[in-house]
Amino acid sequence: MSAELAEPASKIELPAHIGGGGEIPTFDVHLRVRRYNPEVSEDATWDDFHVTMYGTDRVLDALHKVKWEIDGSVSFRRSCAHGVCGSDAMRINGRNRLACKTLLKDLDTSKPITVEPIKGLPVEKDLIVDMEPFFQSFREVMPFLINKGHEPTKERLQSAEDRERFDDTTKCILCAACTSSCPVFWTDGQYFGPAAIVNAHRFIFDSRDDAGDMRLEILNDKEGVWRCRTTFNCSEACPRGIQVTQAIAEVKQAILSRKI
């Protein structure tokens, strides 16, 4: 006896033109990846890969396909792969983007798509950079709540208006897309950079925090907010849509007026 397991007929008659899951359009993508391996050569080179991708795929999917099916030595960071962890910031077609949030169909696939590591931080291998200088600046602005009052027995209350004041800068995922898009940071690694200022802003304008003055003093440095040349690269690069230059301008004004 042969058990024939035929798929049951669909209860809904779908006309052919609507199409099913297998009919997502595919297209060929020419990926040009910046490669660097200090164990092999001191010079960075370009590697070209041709992959067939679907219309729903992102640059990260193309990199996965390359790594899993063509060249396993291609190195990049990624963790959640859904725009939350901030691991896969890279320079795609000359602009800082998260590879996991950049759809291939939004790019010009008739030309090679260039993928490079973010600028201004030391490259370790291929698309992986040393994030330590970035996190060093982040730590220096004391990105944590400092409250001098007594520990409350319940939660620290805050009005909706007070919360709204720093809402934009709470969205930061520390991907470094902003800091590594900043022309000032490229040439002056001592500059705090947009991300550190954004995270300082988040606490400076928090009504529950008492160390705003201290943070303003830290950022009133030669390498602090005054290094900002308002090129707006950071605001444009932020994958969370934070108005970074606006936040930096607010910190500048708070330093001048000493009013938070």
Binding site: R34, A44, R95, T114, T230, T231, F232, K252, Q253
Partner: protein
Amino acid sequence: MPTKPAGTLYRGREGMWSWVGHRITGVVIFFFLLVHVLDTSLVRVSPEAYTAVIGAYKNPLMALGETGLVAAIVFHAFNGLRIIAVDFWKKGAKYQRQMLWTVLALWVVVMVGFSIRHLSLALGGH
């Protein structure tokens, strides 16, 4: 660290390129001021030497150079006001792009007017 610089130029938008323009015009104006201080200080050497040097500027090539210099100064001045607004006006960062288009529009208007007046005087030969 790779010894060669990274592959491509960063593709910034209006904000970045206006900054690049501001930097370049700033350097151009600096070099003009350097020469300007030198030639003006010739008055203290002798008025004749000053007149001779200033007279040497009266040729078509310098007239074009002067147009370029005014173009740089006018951009630097208007864009400087825009940068001040970005820093000090609450909505400056929000409207930076519109302000840049305003800067460029004003620049075109001023430069058209100036070029007609200046070049007709300098090249007209009267």
